[in-house]
């Protein structure tokens, strides 16, 4: 626990203070390198002492990240990182806890924990690296792989229907939901920073390229040459504009988003204005289902609402119990109920 008050603003730490001596073992060219770099770069700016930061992960390529962050870290077992994070945060609310997971770790084997940690609103940041493939086990389809995907374990194509990670998060009552892209460094660091500063569970899906087993999975819209036309940057309170010249926008037709070009009687005032703080999750959910090629892929904060954290409510009950009953007295408790004395 911190004994000194954490300074507001940046500490006298630099990115190199967050680099460990461990050799980074991801494949050359992996999107994980970029995410790690942004994470190390962000840490000094968070204003949290290094000893109060904890990275917790499960199993998979993404889950190696804690070894490369010079903070406290726990590389646990497959899918279970949110459970360890919950126990730790409930007992020590001074810590900044980040969970690093992937589409297999978080949505397949650990799907149950992921939804429950979000509904409880434990104050942790979950970064889910979505590469739509199992990398560490060498190339099987994942719960986010597109239907029909041919992999080693689906030579005739996967017959599964994929999950939309952001839809899962919204349905699980996550109070902060966002998406970013491994190669969009500025957007990525900005999104992680906002998530890390959110009070409650923050969930970020990061589209991450696996150049060995699923190369180019997102290039159709992530490639720099087409990105501005095929993704839309969400900004709170602003109409949803995209395109090189911001000449296109999203209009809501009932519950169906549609792409329109400005001009010819269509103006910005016709566009869908993004409201990330809207309590009703219906519009967030619509955003979570927008995908290229029907629509540009939304990037940024989809939802950011305030509600009490789980650990604060747990603590509140402890405080209330002490106020009502007084600090627990073991001897009195031992003698609770009917007792008698033998002389």
């Amino acid at each position: 626990m911190t004994t000194e008050a954490a300074p507001e603003g940046p500490l006298a730490l630099q990115r190199k203070d967050f680099v460990t001596g461990q050799e980074v073992r991801w494949c050359p060219g992996c999107g994980d390198y970029s995410i790690l770099a942004q994470m190390q770069k962000l840490m000094p700016d968070l204003g949290v002492p290094r000893e109060d930061i904890v990275f917790i992960s499960g199993i998979g390529c993404s889950s190696r990240l804690p070894y490369y962050m010079n903070t406290y870290g726990f590389h646990s077992i497959h899918g279970r990182a949110p459970t360890i994070a919950t126990g730790l945060r409930v007992m020590n609310q001074d810590l900044k806890v980040l969970v690093v997971t992937g589409d297999g770790d978080g949505l397949s084997i650990g799907g149950n924990h992921l939804i429950h940690v979000m509904r409880r609103n434990v104050d942790i940041t979950i970064v889910l690296f979505n590469n739509r493939i199992y990398g560490l086990t060498k190339g099987q389809y994942s719960p986010t792989s597109e239907s029909g995907k041919r992999t080693k374990s689906s030579p005739m194509g996967a017959v599964d229907t994929p999950l939309h990670p952001l839809s899962v998060a919204i349905s699980a009552e996550a109070s902060f939901v966002a998406r970013s892209l491994d190669i969009d460094q500025k957007h990525l660091i900005g999104t992680i920073e906002r998530a890390a500063r959110h009070k409650g569970t923050s969930f970020i899906e990061v589209y991450q390229n696996c150049n060995v087993f699923n190369d180019g999975a997102f290039m159709e819209f992530a490639d720099k040459a087409v990105r501005s036309d095929r993704t839309v940057r969400l900004e709170h309170g602003r109409p949803m504009l995209f395109g090189k010249e911001l000449e296109k926008g999203i209009r809501l037709n009932g519950t169906t988003p549609e792409v329109v070009t400005l001009g010819n009687g269509v103006s910005e005032s016709d566009l869908w204005v993004h409201d990330e703080t809207r309590e009703d999750p219906v519009l967030s959910f619509i955003l979570s289902r927008m995908h290229w090629p029907d629509c540009p892929e939304p990037m940024g904060v989809i939802r950011a609402v305030e509600r009490p954290t789980y650990e604060a409510l747990v603590q509140q009950q402890v405080d209330e119990a002490i106020e009502r009953q007084g600090e627990g007295d073991l001897d009195a408790l031992f003698m609770e109920g009917d007792s008698w004395t033998v002389e």
Binding site: P66, L330, V342
Partner: protein, 626 residues
């Protein structure tokens, strides 16, 4: 005493008192009939009077199995005595049955000549059919060998409460109190404790409170006036060690022990758990202790329960999870993680009949090998096992002492019989309990995550929030000293042996095994867990009969006490009674190369003393010295 006609009943009646050493009563009825409540009240009253008591409940896994059916029968057995007793009794002396199904399910346990008290009102055609009786057993001669007493409990209760203002259904729910009142009269017990309990329990529902008190008294008075019983019975106070006592179930004692451990170690307690029979009461109890700073977490599943507890341990707190057999199976991978990261986690494991869902409310000791070996890789954990319900308190503390001192996951191995059974607990004073020393790493200059204490081999506990000690834990094999990831084969062998040796050295920190009886002889009965009472009682009886039999009880199952091999070697034969098919026997045979005999039982019920006694006679009975 006098009655309305002024005649003193002194003939066959109520003034005749017979002294007994010990009585065992079983209350049996439909699961909605309140048999657990009646049994518990009889227990508390007898304990407060000064008897030694021991109880065992038996109830269906279903909350409300079809009313009147045999699977829906619930029972509670209480044994009370004027001397020290170790079990709730092999067989009841008295069987109280509230309906035909209860009679059908339990009559087989009542010895001939036993007192059988039957609520005749429920012996209707439809109830007889549900209990699979072709004819009413109260009419024929099938019950001739018992001292049958027919009491119309339902209608007597209804008459007593006619003016209570309650409806017929509510009135019927009080009939257990009528039966209880009758038993209180028969065994000369005061109504005071139960009346007080009703006053507290139903303080906000005065009609129900008054009805229960009224019918309790009516049952008592009925005993006095009805001339159904030729004598009343007296069981004198037991000669218990001086001190303050309360009656306690094993699960309640377990929860208090963990709470006490938190105070003794001066670290807050975290309990992560998923509801499971018969361990849920530990969760219920601990969640009441919020004003002690205890935080309980009802997790989404068994894995989250242990994961969260590991998170708490990582943070420097007392991480605790609890479960039963199927839940432990789900927790195994995470328990292996705790072995690898060498954190002081405690798992409270309350066994029930398996495999799979098995018989959730029935007891069993068949998870010993799961606890010891049910993980991938060489994965040693420390294991302690209490012998009696009250002892659960002491061994819950001991589990944390070992976990914290030796930086190892530790399993507290109980079972359904201990967890739900009860006995008087001699209540300690909190300041008499020994403190548990907890050390945290602080110094960045000397810190290495997998450095070890030279004596115990425990690694340092360095918790998030400590400046300069940032390090990474995980399930991958650790390099010696540094704790970095290592795939080096020689390092893996070294670490595997270190983890094993660390747990083995706990043997230096636990008491030696004690022997009850002679230090050597023809036969050693060796037990563990909840078989303690039956084993001890059987050995004491055999010794009275002149047999050369001694008894030893293991409370530490990993590591074993250092002298176990020596103790075994001093006897010609070893008998290991277990509620499984021979799990401790397998360990003892392989470790000490001894041809140990087994007595095994997996009916979901504890051993009877007579069963152990018969086995002792089978092995060494011919050697009786005349």
């Amino acid at each position: 005493m006098s009655t309305e006609d002024g005649r003193r009943r002194s003939n066959a009646g109520t003034d005749q008192i017979e002294e007994l050493d010990r009585v065992t009563i079983r209350f049996a009825g439909d699961s909605g009939d309140g048999m657990q409540l009646a049994g518990l009240q009889f227990t508390t009253t007898s304990a407060m009077f000064g008897n030694d008591v021991a109880t065992v409940p038996d109830f269906p896994a279903e909350i409300r199995a079809p009313a009147g059916s045999i699977p829906g029968v619930s029972s509670f057995q209480v044994s009370f005595s004027s001397h020290d007793i170790h079990t709730p009794g092999d067989q009841p002396d008295v069987l109280v049955v509230m309906n035909p199904a209860a009679l059908k399910a339990h009559l087989g346990d009542l010895p001939k000549g036993g007192l059988l008290i039957v609520n005749t009102d429920e012996f209707t055609e439809s109830n007889l059919r549900k209990a699979l009786y072709a004819e009413n057993p109260l009419d024929g001669d099938s019950l001739d060998g018992y001292r049958l007493v027919k009491v119309p409990v339902g209608s007597m209760n209804a008459r007593a409460l006619a003016d209570s203002g309650l409806n017929a259904k509510q009135i019927d729910r009080s009939k257990n109190s009528f039966a209880l009142g009758l038993m209180f009269w028969l065994y000369e017990r005061s109504l005071e404790t139960t009346i007080h309990w009703f006053e507290e329990k139903f303080a906000r529902n005065p009609e129900v409170r008054d009805a229960n008190i009224a019918t309790l008294k009516a049952g008592y008075n009925f005993g006095e006036t009805a001339e159904l019983f030729p004598v009343r019975y007296h069981v004198a106070k037991a000669d218990l060690a001086p001190g303050r006592y309360r009656n306690i179930t094993g699960n309640a004692a377990t929860a208090l022990g963990f709470l006490a451990a938190s105070k003794l170690a001066d670290r807050p307690l975290f309990y992560g758990s998923y509801p499971i029979t018969p361990a849920s009461d530990i969760l219920h109890e601990l969640s009441r202790f919020k004003n002690f700073g205890v935080k309980t977490f009802q997790a989404e599943d068994e894995i989250a329960a242990i994961g969260s507890a590991i998170g708490a341990s990582f943070g420097g707190f007392l991480g605790l999870t609890g479960t039963s057999g199927p839940g432990l199976a789900l927790k195994s991978e995470a328990l292996g993680l705790a072995v690898m990261v060498e954190l002081p986690l405690v798992v409270a494991m309350v066994q029930r009949s398996g495999p799979s869902t098995g018989m959730p409310t029935k007891t069993d000791q068949a998870d010993l090998l799961q606890v010891l070996f049910g993980r991938n890789g060489e994965s040693p954990v420390a294991v302690v096992a209490p012998a009696t319900p009250a002892e659960c308190f002491e061994y819950a503390i001991e589990a944390f002492r070992l976990a914290l001192t030796h930086m190892t996951p530790t399993v507290f191995l109980s079972d359904g019989y201990l967890g739900t059974g009860s006995e008087p607990w001699r209540v300690p004073r909190a300041d008499e309990l020994p403190r548990i020393e907890v050390k945290f790493a602080k110094d960045p200059d000397t810190f290495n995550p997998y450095d070890r204490d030279p004596e115990t081999l425990a690694r340092p506990w360095a918790t998030p929030g400590t400046p300069g000690l940032e390090h990474r834990l995980g399930g991958l094999e650790k390099a010696d000293i540094t704790g970095n990831v290592s795939y080096d084969g020689d390092n893996h062998e070294k670490m595997t042996r270190l983890r094993a040796e660390k747990v083995a050295r706990i043997a230096n920190d636990i008491p030696e095994l004690e022997v009850t009886g002679d230090e050597s002889g023809d036969l050693l009965v060796l037990g563990w867990g909840s078989t303690y009472g039956a084993n001890l009682s059987a050995v004491l009886r055999a010794r009275e009969q002149g047999l050369s039999v001694s008894f030893a009880h293991l409370r530490y199952l990993n590591p074993f006490p250092l002298n176990l091999g020596d103790v075994i070697a001093r006897f010609d034969q070893v008998l290991i009674p277990e509620l499984n098919l021979g799990q401790l026997a397998m360990l003892v045979r392989s470790r000490y190369l001894v041809d140990a005999a087994s007595l095994n039982k997996v009916t979901g019920r504890p051993f009877l003393i007579a069963e152990v006694e018969a086995k002792i006679h089978e092995l060494v009975g011919s050697k009786v010295k005349v």
